[in-house]
Symmetry: C2
Subunit: 229 residues, 2 copies
């Protein structure tokens, strides 16, 4: 199933959304929430690393990894390496981002893992890791048989998009959760910060939607090795 739009044209939109989302989460965490710190007596500054790494590192770089395989006008072998490297960086930054949430909880004596956001987050990073390992072994090194590769390919794409959609949804869930906490501690519902957080979630969801559309668009070039999905 392919929609009649060229991937290389379509990606202009998600790239603009990625820049907007990255700027928004940085403005929120640095300007409104006081900045980022790995060690600080103000524990909130440790927490602030979490949304920044999860959005810019995990969601945006993970989305770039997905789009790169379809949209870049390069040879399949080169795109495969770019796809793998970007997913590797996204996974590592995602793990560090999750670690900062635990670090903040532990240093502030807040219970870990009570919320839906945290449960889904753990599930998503584990699935992302499994998907990475399976993809590496079958498609990169040592590489499966041609039969196994072509059998696995649609599953790799669909499960990858499933995990990615969950990640995008969970980012929106996390932004809303934090905003609700801030509003219970006195932030006005029509405060500029409340709008910024909600719009960051909307930009994130739109970015995720365009990443997924890219997968179903026409590839960047007529590549004989390209298999229509």
């Amino acid at each position: 199933m392919t929609i009649g739009v060229k991937a290389s044209h379509l990606t202009v939109v998600p790239q603009a959304l990625a820049v907007a989302g990255a700027v928004m989460v940085l403005v929120w965490c640095i300007h409104f929430r006081g900045g980022l710190a790995w060690e600080s007596s103000n524990k909130s500054l440790i927490f602030n690393i979490h949304p920044v790494l999860m959005l810019i590192g995990f969601i945006i770089l993970g989305g770039e990894a997905i789009m790169s395989y379809k949209a870049l006008p390069l040879k399949k072998e080169v795109k495969k390496v770019i796809h793998l490297v970007l997913h590797t960086i996204a996974l590592i930054l995602g793990i560090i981002g999750i670690y900062t949430a635990f670090k903040y909880h532990n240093e502030s004596s807040i219970t870990n893992l009570y919320s839906l956001h945290s449960w889904l987050g753990i599930g998503i990073i584990v699935l992302y890791g499994i998907q990475w390992i399976y993809g590496f072994l079958v498609f990169y090194y040592p590489g499966g048989s041609t039969g196994l590769k072509s059998e696995s390919h649609p599953w790799h794409v669909l499960l990858g998009l499933f995990v990615y959609s969950l990640a995008v949804g969970n980012a929106a869930l996390g932004l809303l959760e934090k905003l609700t906490f801030l509003e219970s501690s006195g932030l006005a519902k029509n405060d500029a910060e409340a709008y910024l957080v909600n719009f960051t979630a909307i930009v994130t969801i739109l970015y995720g939607a365009f990443v997924i559309f890219t997968v179903f668009s026409r590839p960047a070039q007529d590549d004989s090795s390209y298999k229509a999905i």
Copy 2:
């Protein structure tokens, strides 16, 4: 892109999840939250209609509508009518469900439309309505040309899945939002009700995922009119 599982086999899982989700939201709203009422001095009972209609009416029936077109072992013309009728009911129940949230807010003097959940909800129901109108006109009555139909088909599927994914994500967002409000008003984070609400969200997300998988699975029968997607 088709995965090697028959739709009619795959749908066993989402049907079980649909029953579980429907029971869970009813137990939550009736047993834990005091019941459902269209008119009551206890305004919370009016609110309780909202999650019940949105989950059972909009998400579950909408999902059944999506799956019916792929999984039922019937002729294309029959499946099309079932697909249309189920989506129509889902859309109507979704609109009534959204209306009850406004009714509850108005009768309890709570501001409307300040949250991400509400903004996304309005956007989703409008997109769902547009998708319904376009689908009705092009695929049902008066029906577009064969060229328009085959050109529109992948867009109809992908935009439909996009709107449906947003609806599922927004249901999880709504459940989390309500739970956070309840927890700010004293509900313990490890209370049975908190677990019930979180697990309802997880069941909803899994149901949505299996609905989407069904679209990419093998159709129920070898139907000559079936177009692989």
